[in-house]
Point group: C2
Chain length 203, copies 2
């Protein structure tokens, strides 16, 4: 198991390599470090998890390292997800073409509101919450996206865990209690704005 913080940096190295113009064939640990705001030493330590080796004074081969990271991080593997809460934020996410570009497929959305059940958000069907568990088991779903109000978030998380998802992407401003084998990522969009205003007022 590669530690979570290393995985996060490997993905950021990958994004940086992807953004380089085609004529750049070699990249040093210093360049990679500068892109992430970390030291060259830490980059070299991270690279011990990769089989692509650097050459003294030349650095790492951009194409080879980029393709190797893509394979290591399994970015080409298609991943299925379901979304619970087809409200304002849920429908913006379900409809977003950017997911498919990264091999992430939202198969269905679930809701309790009778006015939403039976409709579509883009090409994603909105199904009743009572069908969540059977849908997840039948369709090899890896991730559940939670966009319900904070008051229902834990109850929805429990349903997702019971149905067998391995990961939860949570937009509700509550911290969820889940078993160790389930990975949770909390997105706190509002926090971004609060930090921005603090910095803007400090200027």
């Amino acid at each position: 198991m590669i530690p979570w913080v290393v995985l996060e940096r490997l993905f950021l190295y990958y994004t940086y390599l992807e953004s380089l113009p085609p004529e750049v064939e070699w990249v040093s640990s210093q360049m990679l470090g500068d892109a992430l705001g970390i030291s060259g030493d830490l980059v070299r330590k991270d690279m011990t998890y990769c089989t692509t080796k650097g050459k003294p004074r030349q650095g790492y081969p951009v194409g080879q390292l980029r393709d190797h990271l893509r394979e290591m991080l399994k970015l080409d593997l298609p991943v299925n997800a379901v979304l619970v809460g087809a409200g304002r934020l849920g429908s913006a996410l379900a409809n977003y073409p950017g997911f498919r570009r990264h091999n992430m497929h939202i198969l269905a959305a679930f809701d309790v509101d009778p006015a939403k059940v039976g409709t579509h958000v883009g090409d994603v069907p909105v199904l009743p919450i009572t069908e969540l568990e059977s849908f997840v088991t039948r369709n090899d779903v890896c991730c559940g996206i939670i966009t319900v109000p904070a008051s229902s978030a834990q109850e929805v998380a429990d349903m997702l865990v019971r149905s067998g998802v391995r990961s939860i992407w949570n937009f509700a401003p509550v911290s969820l209690r889940v078993p160790h084998h389930v990975v949770v990522r909390n997105e706190n969009i509002i926090e971004g704005f609060i930090l921005l205003r603090i910095q803007a007022l400090e200027q």
Copy 2:
């Protein structure tokens, strides 16, 4: 000027103090450190920016420290914002009641689509992009929120900078070029899902 990374931690200490039950009257730098996953030493260093002092073996007074942080971070100051791009994501954000709870007021949205101009998203009016600059100057707007496609994001950023906003909250997946005096925060929502899937597949 307090460094950005310290401001970010001060806000996270504040959020932690807010979440404590009322009967907890003292908190140690160790407890604050554990909440953020950092060392007690770093907490003590951060606290040198605050006037609330800790007491040996007792720690910091929760109520006093929380109120002092709230004042330092100017969380009670109302902040005006405008949103450019009243599409899927823009309308989910413009409509979200969570902003007002944190004294952040989205006064208007702007768009180029004639079908959207003249409508409302919740109680936020959608105005033509040609009126952006005069609206911002007339209404003391601190922040511009960018939710337009990547291809228009830089042009919209230039307009916001010309109109005098001090900060930009950018949701488009591009990095913006802005003058030093303007603060930019890039929200890359998709990155959260990619990191989650990497970790889930690694389990």
